[in-house]
């Protein structure tokens, strides 16, 4: 690698010329670092900084002011700095049954939804992978197609389908039966979450199954394994990375889901996203809302770390 030639032209000895040379040197010798700086900068500005702001608010106290929380640092007088960290908000979350129950309910709903998505998504991915080349592309297109309409619009459509005067109940009435209550129930929330997130299960599973060596299944059959045994001893272990990736992609956003429980569950289904929204908007209690958010983050970070750990082992095994 040749160092940039010493300035020969007088123009490059002027200050802007030098600056340009400096920049050029930087780009030539540190381009790797520069390329990496872009995503890191992005994460810093749009993820890490907001995270610390929320963290800061979560250890403040509510006041009636704008913004509605106490500052972390007060300058009392004579250069005395007063740092106020209130952990009451977190204690409050733990002490009040409402929050604990809501977290547990959110986790229950997202866990069951993830399992339902897996039960639905696994055979769908399998069928897509096993279909012919042209059908495969059409089916994948159909999986992605709903993303072309607004998510909110699709949830509203479900309201229309599930409502007391909606599509399903109209049909039940037409058959001559009593209508059933669907909208604003837990069932409606499950329907909404599974409907919305099943593509996030299918796509990673598809990507994983696409790489599966189908001859392994023939080898298992050849060695005397019935189809069910082959599935549990070969197919399932081979597709485990896809199952984990898909499950996390469903589980994490489903836990913090706000729109679906709000629109389809009404007031009957408590999920942490809704509680957070209420604390923030209705109660104008930003510190508690922030504490709720941080606690949610902790709840979700655990499965992610677990996944990282498993993936790390996987890479080691390869």
């Amino acid at each position: 690698m040749s160092a940039p030639a010493e300035a020969v032209l007088p123009a490059e000895q002027t200050l802007p010329g030098r600056l340009r040379q400096r920049l050029l040197y930087l780009v030539q010798h540190h381009w790797r670092g520069l390329v990496l700086a872009i995503p890191f900068g992005w994460l810093l500005i749009f993820f890490l900084a907001p995270f610390f702001i929320v963290m800061k608010i979560s250890v403040a106290e509510t006041i009636i002011a704008s913004p509605p929380f106490t500052p972390m640092i007060d300058w009392v007088s004579d250069g005395i700095m007063h740092v106020r960290i209130v952990i009451d908000n977190y204690a409050y979350l733990w002490e009040d049954d409402l929050y604990v129950n809501t977290y547990l309910n959110s986790l229950k709903i997202s866990t069951i939804s993830t399992i339902l998505c897996l039960l639905l998504g696994y055979p769908i991915s399998y069928a897509i992978v096993r279909s012919s080349h042209t059908t495969k592309h059409i089916l994948l297109m159909l999986i992605i197609l709903p993303f072309w309409t607004s998510f909110l619009l699709r949830v509203y459509a479900w309201m229309g389908i599930l409502a007391d005067q909606g599509l399903i109940n109209d049909f039940i009435r037409w058959l001559g039966y009593e209508p059933i209550r669907l909208l604003y129930t837990q069932t409606a929330v499950y329907i909404g979450i599974v409907y919305t997130y099943v593509p996030f299960m299918i796509l990673p599973l598809y990507a994983n199954m696409e790489k599966l060596d189908w001859e392994l299944l023939e080898a298992a059959a050849d060695l005397g394994a019935r189809p069910m045994t082959t599935f549990f001893t070969v197919t399932l272990p081979m597709t485990l990375p896809g199952i984990i990736a898909g499950s996390l992609l469903v589980f994490i956003p489903a836990t913090g889901e706000y729109v679906i429980p709000d629109l389809l569950g009404g007031g009957n289904v408590l999920m942490i996203g809704r509680v957070l929204y209420n604390e923030f908007n209705a109660n104008v209690d930003w510190p508690v809302a922030s504490a709720v958010a941080i606690a949610l983050l902790l709840v979700l970070v655990l499965p992610m770390m677990l996944y990282q750990h498993i993936q790390g082992k996987e890479v080691e095994g390869k």
Binding site: D213, L216, E218, A219, A220, D222, G224, A225, V234, M238
Partner: protein, 381 residues
Amino acid sequence: MSQPVNYSDRPWLDPEAEPFIKVQSVSKHFGDFTAVDSVDLEIYKGELFSLLGGSGCGKTTLLRMLAGFETPSSGSIVIDGVNMNNVPPYERPVNMMFQSYALFPHMTVENNVAYGLKRDGVARSEIGRRVADMLSMVELTRFAKRKPHQLSGGQRQRVALARALVKQPKVLLLDEPLGALDKRLRDQTQYELMNIQERLGVTFVVVTHDQEEAMTLSTRIAVMDAGRFMQIGTPTEIYEFPNSRLVAEFIGNANMFEGRVTENGPDHVAVEGKNPKCDFYIDHGMSIAEGTKVWIALRPEKIRISKEKPANSDTNSVRGMVHDIGYLGGTSTYRVKVGDDHLVEITSTNQSRPKDGNPPIDWDEEVFLYWEPSSSVVLTK
């Protein structure tokens, strides 16, 4: 009374022997494409039978039908007296060694080999013993705890073989067993396979596109083309007495001469060559009409090359000009132009070192080619 013949090495000649595998007018169609076209085949117990052919000739499809991965469109496959048509792969008394080996990547070598025994519900202690025996036979005991990706190609091949043999199948199917190995390892493994087959007495059916592999391994070979068998026979029969131009050219090299039958005696056939114009005299009778258009196949090593005119140069001899010489050390390959630009290949052993008084044959020299009356094969198709 004639002396009883011992057929143990050649069960296909024994009129009493019952074939172990019977393929009866089996066809396989994939849409419009006919992969296997109404073939019949009988394989006897303890044989090492090869299905030989180029890619797309239907050999792999036939093997997959024996394994049960494909069902015949028509016809039936009988193994050890049981019709296999409606028997799924996991209930067949056959095991297969896949071309890609298809080892389970998430299992250790040991568990790969034990997989089939576990499926059969064999007792744990017996599984341990049989797996250990198998691994010691293929010399992989040290690698029992490794995963397949930690093994070399040759070791993986041996794991695949151990996994397929541990269940003591009646038939072992091998799909290009040596295809993924390098030359040195192939030669070595080839003989290992033969030894194992001999020791266990399992019937082997091998699919290969490599004629050398088929020749050394097999008791019998079926040469396939376009879904049909061209010829079934021992390696010697197929090499020395090919029944068609295709077989002659597929197995080894063969020089082809077009000609017409001029004389058909009870103990000989005479053929007049078209290009080069020379007379062929074949010392065995054939049921063939005079005037029939035929091809004469002559193996390169059966033709002799000399600068001197042979004693009887009326028949089975032709004059030519050396076009090319390939010196291979032990042998030399000559390409000699005869007749109207027809190239003939001759392989000759370099028995003596070239001496001053006996200079080797040189480029563009006039030479005589001659061969024994028994060397040529007359082919009608």
